[in-house]
Amino acid sequence: MLGAAGLMPLAAAGCGSPETISEDPSELVMWYWNRSASPELLDQASSAIPGTDKHVRADVIGTNFDTKLRTSLAGKAYIPDITYINSNNALYFTNEDLFLDLDELGADAVKSDFYEWKWELGITPKGRFCFFPLDIGPTGFFYRQDVFEDAGLPSSPEDVSAAITTWEDWIALGAELKDSAGSFLVNDAQNIFEGYLNSSPERYFDTDDNALYLEDGSAVRRAWDVTITAIEAGLTAKIPRDRGTDQNAAWSSGRTAGNIGAAWWTQILAESAPDTEGSWRIASQPVRAGNNGGSFAALPHTCKDPEAALAFLTWINSPSNQALAYEDVQLFPSTPDSFTDLSYSGTFFGDQDPLDFFSTAAETVPTSFISAWETMIGGSFTFEIANVETTGKDPDQAWADALSQAERVLTKRGVEV
């Protein structure tokens, strides 16, 4: 029975298994995944965390990171002293007591180094600062300059940015692209829906658990309307993201000429569509930049030495070390000062400097709040968006279904809306 896997820790609970992984009092065990930290910096920390007499043992946790972390927390055994958490940190809000409030340890001291919106994403609804900022994912509109040029559309990043300051303008540009070049604006409608919401200060809930998405003219509803307009204008290629091979083929062939992507997508694109080198540019997406992805670090309540652990986090995320991590594993820095040390030398985006673009875009990302409940119901909306896109479902029916599905899920999980 598959559903039963991963429930073993309960057996371990109370059987005298140690809470922490390492018995060495000067060794802090950290869990992370590949390419979420600079190996060079981890190597330094493995001998000593600067300014302390502790050192870090970094363990790469492979797939199912969240399941493994939950397992150790539920079993109260073999819990890491420091853990990285992906951009889905809101999943842990309902159990925030399992993590230490870093403000109580003095994390405030470095707050001004970071983009404020990123710092805010690490604060729980109760106002505790549990999730320390690692990297970020400011977004922009990637497009094929060659296809835009052939279609007689604005093609330089400045011109495209100027032409798509609103979502309506962006859709109008997509319609022209479709007419004259036969290319799609994006691969799937979900890209638009999420691209909109990720750049919106308002999302599904506020910090007091009010269901904002139910209100008239909510950001979710506006994102929905923009997405439906784009679907009905036939601007999406109807290739969902779980079919990466098809998506890549569409971008390589120019059949799809754009994508709302985050800074980390530059590298993915360069690797998956190497033949298109020099053809891509990035323009500012409509209204303002959003954020998509970017990780956090947290200290479980069992952490052996919270002061040393926080010292490690502030050290490895200092502006200069984040610059180093960018050069090492392309983690996009969450500290604006990192960019003074960085320069871009690639030619994938022609003469455009994506580092310069995204560091500027990061300044405009709004402060927003991602609720734990959003992680439960967000899928209902993207699922219905996909239904409208691929099966031609009636949008009004789809919206009603998304709402009722969301309500059912929330009710089942004990959330009143």
């Binding site: 079919r243 699922f383 599905q405 089942k412 004990g414």
Partner: protein, 333 residues
């Protein structure tokens, strides 16, 4: 007539001894236990591992199905709420429907194909061992590699199948984004993977049919078709039932094919969402372990109904179970 010997004595039974004392029995029992101890130890690893990784999770999932748990916080008891949600959950019933459609779409052609292949392999042709290996090979191929190949072959816009179809003047089919396209693609993956496996089992069955039956039929002037339907099929019946049962188990627990092909979401409109994939989705991407467990037990009930139907089919005619081949259990899942 005193002390008549028992009418029926086991031939190897020891001569009746004078009534043994209590201490004797205990000693003998202890001795037997000591003699058997190595045997118990030898078989214990399986039972220990099964208890820890099989039995406990199964029992614990019963408990969990009556609770709400996100995998790390408090486990709160909610009674039958998960099951109440389940019976009114459209997504669950959609998954049930998908599972059965894909099961029928895959099992029926697969077993016919397997029978045809087995029949051909049973003829006196050259390189039979080579063919057997070739047909069995898909069964041991990496599923992930296979999903990439199938994803490319059935790709809507860039796929081999659609290129071939448009070359032949047919319309391209959105294999991976339409409800039926998705189901047919998944069924094709299942057929590709398990036809050879079933063919090998059928071949074993064909080879166990005595040739004198065929000789006698030929002497009596039976045609090839008559031979096939009057001799081969009736004698193969238990084997066919066996493959139907294993295919039912595999079909109901279908997970890997849709997951690697379409991801955790089951594709457009959840057209490729199967019961087990939905269960996985709820437990390990939504972290709703209570509901995931409830789905698991609902699947258990459905599987139990089918097990009973199968059992009736097999035991109804009396000749079934005795002739069931001792084939390896289907390793699907």
């Amino acid at each position: 007539m005193t002390a008549a010997p028992p009418a029926i004595a086991r031939p190897d039974a020891p001569a009746p001894a004078p009534a043994p004392g209590r201490r004797d029995t205990r000693a003998r029992r202890r001795r037997r236990r000591r003699e058997n101890l190595p045997l118990y130890i030898a078989i214990s690893p399986f039972y220990l591992l099964f208890a820890v990784f099989g039995l406990f999770p199964i029992l614990f999932s019963i408990v969990l199905s009556f609770t709400d748990w996100d995998g790390m916080g408090e486990i709160s008891f909610v009674g039958l709420a998960q099951y109440q949600f389940l019976v009114t959950d459209d997504r669950f019933w959609n998954a049930v429907g998908n599972t059965f459609i894909i099961w029928i779409l895959s099992t029926v052609p697969m077993l016919f194909l397997a029978m045809a292949i087995a029949f051909l392999l049973h003829q006196n042709i050259r390189f039979t061992p080579l063919y057997r290996v070739a047909f069995f090979l898909p069964n041991v191929t990496s599923m992930v590699a296979m999903a990439i190949v199938f994803g490319s072959v059935f790709s809507d816009t860039f796929g081999l199948v659609n290129s071939a179809m448009t070359a032949l003047g047919l319309d391209a089919v959105p294999w991976l984004s339409s409800p039926w396209g998705i189901k047919i693609t998944i069924a094709a993956m299942v057929i590709w993977r398990f036809t050879g496996y079933n063919a090998i089992i059928y071949l074993a069955g064909l080879q166990s049919i005595p040739t004198d039956l065929y000789d006698a039929a030929r002497v009596d002037g039976a045609s090839l078709l008559q031979v096939f339907f009057r001799i081969t099929i009736p004698l193969m019946r238990p084997i066919i039932l066996f493959t139907v049962i294993t295919s039912t188990i595999g079909g109901l627990s279908l997970f890997t094919e849709p997951q690697v092909l379409l991801g955790d979401g089951g594709g457009a409109g959840e057209a490729g969402m199967t019961i087990v994939l939905y269960q996985y989705n709820q437990a390990f991407t939504q972290f709703d372990f209570g509901y995931g467990s409830a789905i698991a037990w609902a699947l258990f009930l459905i599987a139990a109904v089918f097990a009973i139907i199968n059992w009736r089919l097999v035991s109804g005619r009396g000749d079934g179970p005795a002739r069931r081949p001792r084939a390896r259990k289907d390793s699907r899942r």
